[in-house]
Structures are given as structure tokens and as C-alpha cells.
Symmetry: D2
Subunit: 374 residues, 4 copies
């Protein structure tokens, strides 16, 4: 399996560098005869797009997607769906000064050590620019979920913590967050975050964040233990996003502090089938979806590109001071929300096709949750 390929049966191969002429992706294994809603894909890209608010990088990219194959009269043919996004606002001169220096907390050092070569222009292949490919592919994967499971499937993310300041998890609106530039409907939190980001920027610093992603309407039955568990593939997909340092499912690390009877999501029969009395499992037990809401969270470190002098070394082994200019997000976590949604959609759609191959159509039940976990 190539290193730039995600999934087994619905696969995404991604290619391209920050300052090349374009980036692109290839989705293979799509169900045939599916009408592709290209506008929905473009709309997902627009959410992730740089320059959409003052708190994300000011690089200006249209991020207009072009589909090059795999479609006939607007429908998928079952053959590879190739797409491409042009790089228009690549200013390589911004980066010339650091071509010989390893920026702390960046991929520079480890990539140079591995490959003996690296493309320093905008971080090359290690740039978060690549995540546009994930978002486009994830939007297609969501359409696969709708195509096979119906329109009730929802996959959405929210920014739930920024710089250590958590949003109010009790807000019923918290998890319909998409109109907000912060992907969060806790208005108080958003106001605090805006101030914090403003101050951080002035201070030439940056902040980390925690993002939550949820999927509703996914029946029980997705996941392939013992290694290709649904949670394992989700964790891999989420931690493969730039700057992510941790991932958890359901109660996650908090589960390690619960007692057995607190953690166990008890079950009852309800009018509409099985009801879980809680959802500490985050919708996954034994590596397979339970029919309850699937809940994952991931932690992003603060943006590593700082307009601040940091100690480092250079390619010739000598000590150096590095100051990263260029256009960067003060908190990469914000734009990570649509990326997290995309990864969730890709993993679910891949596992849906995998399940159908082994077992047949997904007949597993949906389950309700008595007290929705916040």
C-alpha cells in the first residue's frame, strides 16, 4: 500500500506540494451510478479555505476543484475519480530564508533525515495545504454514506476548546456549529477565543485546540476487528492530520478515571429499538459501531510557524536562530474542523463498503442514547 493512500475499498490517494502547480487526489472504489454533487464538494472546500477569516492564514486560494475522470453524465462510473486544485498564491520567496534551517516543531528536521532532500517551499509535501484534498474527498465520501444509508446520516465537527478554554458542552446548539467561522455555537466561547487569538497574534504566539467530530445515523456493524477496528482506523485517520497529537473516542482519557459501572453504557429496549443510557463508548464497542452516535475528539498543538526567534540548527549542523515569516494560522485547530469531518466520512464510507463486501448490506440497528453526551 502506498504511504499516501487512505482506506481499503474506498481509497484516497493524495499528491502535491504547497508550492507546486497543483495538488490533487484520486478516489477509487466508488459505488457506480451515484450522482456526484460537485457543488457540495466545492462548498466543503470553501469551509476549509485559507483566507476565510482573519484568524486563518491569509494565503489567498480559490480552491476551485476540477474533476478529471470517473464521471459520465454527472454520475460515478466505478472508476477512479481524479480531481485537482490549482495552487495560485504560492509565494516561494517567503520561505527562501529558512531553506537551510530546521524550523522547530516542524517536519523539516525529520523529513531531511529520512529522505536526504526536502522541498522547503511552503513546507512542500508536509504543508497543511494537502488537507484540501482530504476535505474534497471527504465530501464525496459523505455522499457515499447518503447514497447507501440515506440522507439522515450527518457528520459534523466543532471546535470545543481553544488555548485551553473549553466551550460550554451543555449548549444544545454546540453541535450544529457550521455557520460560525469558529465552527462553534457557544457564542460566549467564541467571543473569548477571538480576544485570545487577537492577543496571541500580537504576542507573536499561537494556540492549540481540541476538535470534536460526530457521526449520526450510522447503524451498528461498521468496523473490522481485531486490527482494523473502526476506532483504530478513525484514530489513524485523525492523527494523520497535521499538528494532531492525540485522539480519543467517546469518554476517551476520562474513561480511565471512571469506575466500571459508571463507564458501562447500560442498555434498555425503547420504542425505536435499543437505547443506550449513556454513550461513554462513543458509539463503538469491540471496534464495531453500536448504532449510537459516533464521537471522536482530537488535540492540535499550537501552530508551529511563529514570527518569533527560536533556537534551532541548520543543515550544516551549526546552531541557528529561526524566525518564520509567511502567512500562517494563529490556531490551526480552527481549520481542522472540516478536515476532521472529512476524515470521519472517509473512514465510515470505506468501512461501509468493506462491510458490504463481507456481510452484505448493513442491516445493523440504529440505537438511541438516553442522555446525549454533551
Amino acid at each position: 500500500m502506498p504511504a499516501n493512500l487512505l482506506g481499503q475499498r474506498l481509497t484516497l490517494q493524495s499528491w502535491g506540494e504547497s508550492h507546486g502547480s497543483a495538488i490533487g487526489g484520486v478516489l477509487d472504489g466508488l459505488p457506480p451510478n451515484m450522482v456526484l454533487d460537485i457543488a457540495a464538494v466545492q462548498s466543503a472546500l470553501d469551509k476549509r479555505k485559507p483566507g476565510s477569516s482573519k484568524f486563518v492564514t491569509q494565503r489567498r486560494e480559490d480552491d476551485t476543484i476540477e474533476f478529471l475522470s470517473g464521471l459520465y453524465e454527472g454520475k460515478t462510473t466505478g472508476h477512479p475519480l481524479a480531481f485537482i486544485i490549482a495552487n495560485k498564491d504560492a509565494r516561494s520567496k517567503d520561505y527562501d530564508a529558512i531553506a537551510q534551517k530546521f524550523r522547530p516543531a516542524h517536519a523539516d528536521w525529520s523529513w531531511q533525515e529520512k529522505y536526504g532532500i526536502r522541498d522547503p517551499r511552503g513546507g512542500g509535501r508536509s504543508s497543511a495545504r494537502e488537507t484540501a484534498i482530504r476535505v474534497a474527498a471527504g465530501a464525496v465520501a459523505l455522499q457515499v454514506l447518503h447514497h447507501l444509508l440515506g440522507p439522515a446520516v450527518e457528520v459534523w465537527g466543532a471546535l470545543v476548546e481553544l488555548g485551553g478554554d473549553a466551550a460550554d458542552g451543555q449548549s444544545a446548539d454546540l453541535y450544529k456549529p457550521h455557520e460560525s467561522p469558529f465552527f462553534c455555537h457557544d457564542k460566549q466561547a467564541v467571543q473569548r477565543w477571538e480576544k485570545a487569538l487577537e492577543a496571541t497574534r500580537k504576542d507573536n504566539s499561537s494556540l492549540g485546540a481540541i476538535v470534536e467530530v460526530r457521526a449520526r445515523g450510522i447503524p451498528a456493524g461498521l468496523g473490522e476487528p481485531v486490527y482494523d477496528r473502526l476506532d483504530a482506523d478513525l484514530a489513524k485517520a485523525l492523527i494523520s492530520i497535521n499538528a494532531v497529537k492525540g485522539v480519543e473516542i467517546g469518554a476517551g482519557f476520562s474513561a480511565a478515571r471512571l469506575r466500571g459501572e459508571e463507564n458501562a453504557d447500560e442498555m434498555r429496549t425503547s420504542n425505536s429499538g435499543v437505547q443506550f443510557l449513556s454513550n461513554n463508548a462513543g458509539g463503538i464497542l469491540g471496534g464495531i459501531s453500536t448504532g449510537a452516535e459516533i464521537v471522536a475528539r482530537f488535540a492540535l498543538k499550537p501552530t508551529s510557524s511563529l514570527p518569533r526567534t527560536l533556537r534551532s540548527v541548520q543543515q550544516d549542523g551549526k546552531n541557528a536562530e529561526v524566525l518564520t515569516k509567511g502567512r500562517h494560522d494563529p490556531c490551526v485547530g480552527i481549520r481542522a474542523v472540516p478536515i476532521g469531518e472529512a476524515m470521519m466520512s472517509l473512514v465510515l464510507a470505506d468501512h461501509l463498503l468493506r462491510h458490504r463486501g463481507q456481510v452484505g448490506n448493513l442491516g445493523g440497528a440504529l440505537a438511541s442514547v438516553e442522555e446525549e453526551s454533551p
Copy 2:
């Protein structure tokens, strides 16, 4: 790729159920001409073995491993190394009562919904019994690391939190924990944990835990961005362990609360090469090892099998009360330590072979860390 296969070039396929006649594994892709230290493999299995203290399940298994192929005169031939471990103390009658009921927090419900069939004897394939295969394979993988990188490579885990009570991270001894049945050298913590477990058992409850795994002596250069990053594959491997609900690398979730300049591990030239002034990255940047110590942590939920009545449903859809008898660990986190080590070794050895294929022998530098992260 089969669902029960881990890795790409050094691959482990695992098979077997808790109460079948045996469990087994197949390691393919091993470097040829490597002397296999079978005693070291058996020794790793003995660490994980049930019944080794009163705080782990009292099921009695020798866990004696038998190698069936892939060796000639004690050396690997480059062909599949198959091994088998007999199940001797499988008491299926303990489980007959719950064959029709879904145990909360167990795989019962989701597996039944997926496959339409499940082996209820001891949890069948979802049992933690399968982890013995991981431990055996991990011990072989560690030998691959030694064979190719030299004897200085170390991979070891420690129990760093039990029931919400953390060990003292400052103890220099903390990270040489193997003589202790708790895999932890903070003697005060161990004493507190013993008491807590004793009380928990009397209370028919269970506790969760956090395990840390570290690898030393791994040069810069392992990992294959953008999807098969070293951290992504580690996260997948660790979260695939039974009961794990979260995983983090280096500073992990705490990194989301640091400022950019705090999180960035600055670098300096030292006598022995590059030195990182901190290791928030946990030895991985941009998905590739940096040469510094690799650090991962994972959270385990409390044992789900409780001698306590919980509300659930049965296979016919009716409500039921479930009380799980049988022999179980009050904290599955304890035995997870050698399993976590095994997963780390397997992922590193696989990536070492992958790197050698693409780039050649791993020439990346080792890096020191000024202040060892606790």
C-alpha cells in the same frame, strides 16, 4: 488487506478465540538469517500471562509458545513464522448464562449486529486472550529492531495512572519498571494502587488506567507521510488493543493547552549531534521519527466484566439484567503494559523495513533531549 493483519512489510496475522483449542499468529516479511531468541519471546509472554498476580484474571494458562515454521537451524528463513499457543484453561460453562444477553460495554451487541452470529464462549474473538499473539509477535519485532539497529534499542512501557491516581512522573526509576507486577517503579503509587484495587474488587467494581510506552535508540527517519505517519500507525496499533479509548503522542492533549513557543522543541548542536531542548513532540514530527525518544500514552477504560447487575437487553429484544461471573482482571490496564510495548515494537519494525525498501539503510541521526520529559 485482511482485518486481522497488522503492518505492511513486517506483518502479523492473528487468529483464534478465547475458548477454541488454540490461538496463533503468522509473522511474514521477517529479515532472513536472524537468530530467533525463543526464550525472549516466552519471557515476554510470561509478563502478560493471566494469573501472574492476584490483580489479574485467575485463568491459568501456561502460554507456552510453539513455533511451527519459518525457522531453520534456529534462524529465520524469510518465510512466514507461524506460532501457536494452546488454550488449556477455557471453562465455557462460566459463560453459558450470558450467551443470550448483551453485556454492557462489551463487544456483544455490536458484534452480533454486524455478523449475525457470535461465539459467546469467553468473548470469542473479542476476548483479550488474543493479545497474547501481539505480545509474542512484538517480542520478535523487538529482535528485528536489535538485529538491524543494534542492541541499544529499548522499548518499554509503564503503568502511569490507575483509577485516576497518577504515578510520580519525576521518579527517575519510573521508566525501568519491569520487575514490578504493576510495571511501575513508583513504590508509593504501587502501594496506593494495591489498596485501591483491593477495595474495588470488594466493591464488585473495576478501574481504568493509563499506560505509557517509550522507545529509545530509534534514529530519525521512520514514518511515511502523509497517511502512514509513524504516529498514525502507532495510534492505530495502540487503540486496537482491547479497552483502549484514547491515545496521545508526546505532550498529546496537553499540547493543545501550550503556546506555540512553549510547545516547540527547540534544537541545539551537542557533542553527539542534535539535541532537542524538550520533547513535546514525543519523538515524532511531521509523521517521522526525530531521533529523540518516542513517547506514546494510551487510556484504558475500566474492566467491563463486573460481578454486578447491570441493565441490558437480550438477543430477543427484551430487557434483561446481566451479571458477569467468570475470572477477570479488576484493571485490564495492568496487563496492557506488555501489549503496548509489543504494538510499539511491531510498528517500529514494520516501518524500519518500509524505510529500508524506499530509502535504504536507516541513516537518520539519534537525537538527545536536554530535559527528559517525565
Copy 3:
């Protein structure tokens, strides 16, 4: 993907050496809830078994299969089906003399050059003993085809040429060959072959053969162009059988000598759907099954182990004369018939699951053929 793994969604991993304690296999991805007919698997093994006539190796093996996992109450659980076959009649002393010499036309030289080590006992991993695993797995795969496509599916092979002497392709009985020890119902041919083999044995020589394998009842739609075509995966599977040097589909090499209008299988509507007026395509067009009978042939070189002195070299680089004693088939092609059937079944079942994953249940039509190709 490991080198000893066949398939993508129904996968077979094989392990074991000729003179180890056992050989075995792991089938992963099986549909759950399928009753496994173990007697049918054993029966397939008995067909391939050494010692079943005087024209195959006189090594005596029961070839009794034992299933170790993946079954509950006689049904598949969707988890790995592991099985094992003991090696009982391994006489390693027969091979000691040639441990230092490379037998011509054997794997000895190339394997030694690759791995720097080889197990000389009975050819180690390169022995045709491994094919017992294929036959067992193929018999399970055939049950998958029956389970999902109905009992009308047939997969069977025939010996159609031995030592350059072809069976009569016009015989209607030719393709129901299984009661014959030669897997061929052309009684004249069998009589000629028996004489030829007897003479060949006396002459310390050996003969090659051509085997044909056919599958009936496979609807249109299996295969995944452009690389994982059904014919491409079949060719790989068949040529991976020991001693096979060529493979062809339908008219095969003869198609290169036809004119376009002769080769093109014209189509007409018939009462039962589409009818092909010929089947030069061998049931596969554009890499996908057409619904007509699938036809493949493969050529086996004469047995390489000869009780005859041949010129060779030894491990130390010096010239040597090699005379291979031991118990061998005068024509390995005979036992290759059930192996070819097994490979066909494995490839078809894997592609059936792959198709179901991407497209859903296989709805493609069956097609008849006006003049059955002989």
C-alpha cells in the same frame, strides 16, 4: 501485503515447510453464518494427496485437516478460519546429500541468493507440499461461491495434455473428469499417458503437462479493471503454482493467430438471455466476467527432481553433479488439477466479495455459449 497472502477481501495466508511439523493457512474475510462443510474440504485434500496412485509421489501423508478457529457451532463467524495439516512422513535424511548443491530447475539457487539461507529439507518452503493449503482453502472458497451464488456454480479442472500428447478435446465427457486418477475422461488418452509415464519413469525422466480449469455459473460482473482484472488475478494465482510456466485465458495464445472476425465472440438474444456464439474470450472481456463459462489453461514443466545426474554448482561455487533421490511425481501436472481448481475458486470468491463491496449483490447475467468450446 505479505508475500504469502493471496486475495484482497477473502484472503489466504499460507505458512509451513515440507519437513516442518505442520503446514497451515488462515482464511480471513469469510462471510459469517456460513455452514462449513468440513468433509468437502477433506475430500478436496484427498484428491491432491500424495500417494494416491503410482504416478504421484509415494510420500505418505494423511493430509487430515484440523480447523482451529473461526467457527461456532459449525458456522463461520466472520473471523479468521485457521487450519493446520500435520507433516507425518517427512524423511529429511533423503535430502541431506543435496543440502550443499543447487538442484537444476529447482528453487535452490535463486532462493539461496535471495535469502542467504535455505531450508534444504524437502525443498523447505519451495516444496509443492504447500499446495495442500491452497486446495483446502479453495474448497472453502467454493463453498463461499455456493453460499452466495447458489449450488449451480461449478469449478473443475482436467488434465488436457501430458508430455505433449493432448486429450481429445471433442469428448463430451472430458470436462467431468474427477473420478479418474488422471482427472481426464478421455480413456484413450489416459491409456497412452499411463504407458508414457511408465516408460518415462524407467528412463529416469519426467514429463510436463497442461491443465485446464473451468468455472460455470459465474454471472457477468466479476473483476476490477484496470489492474485487478479477473484474468490478471487468475493468471497470477495459477502461475504461482509450483512448476507453472504459462497461463492463458479462453483461446489464449491461439487468439494471436485468429483474425478479428474469427476471434470476436458474436452475441445473440436467446430465451435465457444473452448467448455468445463462441467463447474465445474464455468468459472474460475487459477484465470482467461475461457470464459465459470461464476457461483458463496453464502449462507445467516436467518434474525437476530426477534420479539422473545433472551438472550443477555447489554452495562453495565449485562445479558438482547432482542426482536427486527421494519420492517424487513423474509428472507434477497430474496433482496440479485440484490445485488449479482451488486457485480459480479462491480468485472468484475474492472478487465476488470485492464486487459486493463496491457495487452490491452480483446482479450480472449468466450467458450461454452456442458452441461450447471444447
Copy 4:
């Protein structure tokens, strides 16, 4: 693994349809720091290009390749190398008449049955247009072989039979065939073939062909038994080329008519190492290269697109007569020569990286052959 992906460690993913805006490919896993000779890639494409003689399709395409990623200052970075070739001369109107009819011997029927949709414009994804991607990727793979094994490696093909008329295999020049538009240096054969093709074209018919591909300078040691044998992967790659119905290695089907002592390639020590006294094995024994020349042949059926009325059926199930207009090759075998070379290079380069991963640098010996097989 996606269906449009070839290889394991050096992987090619291909996308695009005959009449889309472009076709393209992604090569992942390339060794870093390799200077890419783009002109050599373009030159390989020019050899396969339509319109280069009157005996190949008169579609006019520049087939100018553009590299979009994976390069920095002319060298590979170890990240995906994406490339694209525009479709400029796609005349979809030529094909409108047959959109509802299944052309005999084409992919139309089986693809429609599988996917329930097909792109009829120029055959869509089933068109041989896709093979341009293979040729481009193969030219890069050949550079990988040169990069790692030295400039002595040669991979080249020849047309050895056309319409049943074989070239003279004794001609010493036969196997340096590239200056000829027929990829064959037997001038008498070429003259006969030209006449035959001219007559065939006038007769609205087409001819098949046999192509031979050879690789020199490949040391012993490539291939991964028991399933991923070098010959098995070669066979899969070659038979995946459009119109190929058979493949053989070394003596191939003829080996089935040899006696054991005739077929066995005896060995002697020579000044330069091991010498095989013949090469019936075609350079592969036990699935691993022997160091002798690697020889494969594949058979192509006659071009299926004929300006001749053939009986067929239409999408609504009724009988129909089909007459395929458009621009087609009278013998697709001619253009298959560079495609066969490309597939050979891709398989060898992939196995070279795979070998290096498991075993280290390829140290296997080259072997000479006393009597070069014709």
C-alpha cells in the same frame, strides 16, 4: 488496495478515460534524491504514441507529459510523483452510434453488467488510451532500476509474431529492435508483416500478435514466494494489458512438451560466476530471479474494433448488428511492445524495493547463459 493500483512498494495508480480531458498517474514510493530524466519518459511515450505509423490508430495525440508533484530541483523527493497527459484529439461523435450496442470482443457488455453504467466515448476507461500511463510510469521505473542497480540494466521488448507469422528467432539482431516501427529487426518478417497488415486492412479485418519482453542485468533474488513470485506478478502485469490473452515465462507452454532433463537448465561455474547452460526457466526459478536474462512472452488477440458488421445485442436486450467505425490499430500488438517493457520495469522496480526492505541491498549474482535462448 484500489483496483487501479499496481505494485506494493513502488506503486502506480492510474486514472482517466479515453475521451475525458486528460489521463494521469501517481507513482508513490520512489527512492528520494533520484534525478528524473523527463526527456527519457517523453521518449518512451513517443514510442507508444498513436499515429506514429500507418499501422497504428490515426488518432493524433501529442502525449506530452506534465509532472505535477514529487520533484524538487529535478530530483525525486520520496513523495508521490503525479503526472498528467492531456487528451486532445477525442472525437466522441465517432462513437455515438454504438453507445447502445455491445461491441463483440469489447468490454462493453461485461462492464455494463458490472457497473450498470458505462462511458461509451471511445471505450471510456476500458480504452487502450490508459496504457500511455503505464508507459510513462514504466520509464520512471526503469530509471529506478538504473539508479539502484546501475546503467547495465536493460529492459526491452520485440514483436516476435504477427498474424501467426513468426520472426526469425535466430537473428542476433532480433532483440535490439527499437529503431523499427514494428519493434523487430528481422527485416524479412517486417516486410511480410507489412504486406499482411495492408491486406488485412483492405479486408476490414485485424491480426493478433505475440510480444516478447526481456530484462538483462537483474541479479538473482527478486520475487517473493509463495504468492508474490516474480513470475506471478509479471504475469498479472502483462495480462492486465488490453487484449492480452496469455502469458508465458521462459520456455513457457513449450516446457510442457520437454522431458525433465531437457528442461532443467544445468549450471556450471564460469569466470564470471554461475553460468546456466540453457535458460528454459526464463530467468526465474521458484518465483525468484536467477540472475540470468528474464524472458516473458504475451499473446494479444486481434484488434476487436472492426469496420465490419458483427452480430450482437443492444442494451434493451434486442439483437443488433454492430459496425465499429473510428480510428483503430489493425494490430494492437505493435503498440503493445513498449507497454510490455513498461510493465516489466514496473514489476522489477517494485520487487527491488520490496527485496531491499526485507533483506537489504540486492546482493544476488548475475548469471550468464551459455547458449542465449533465441
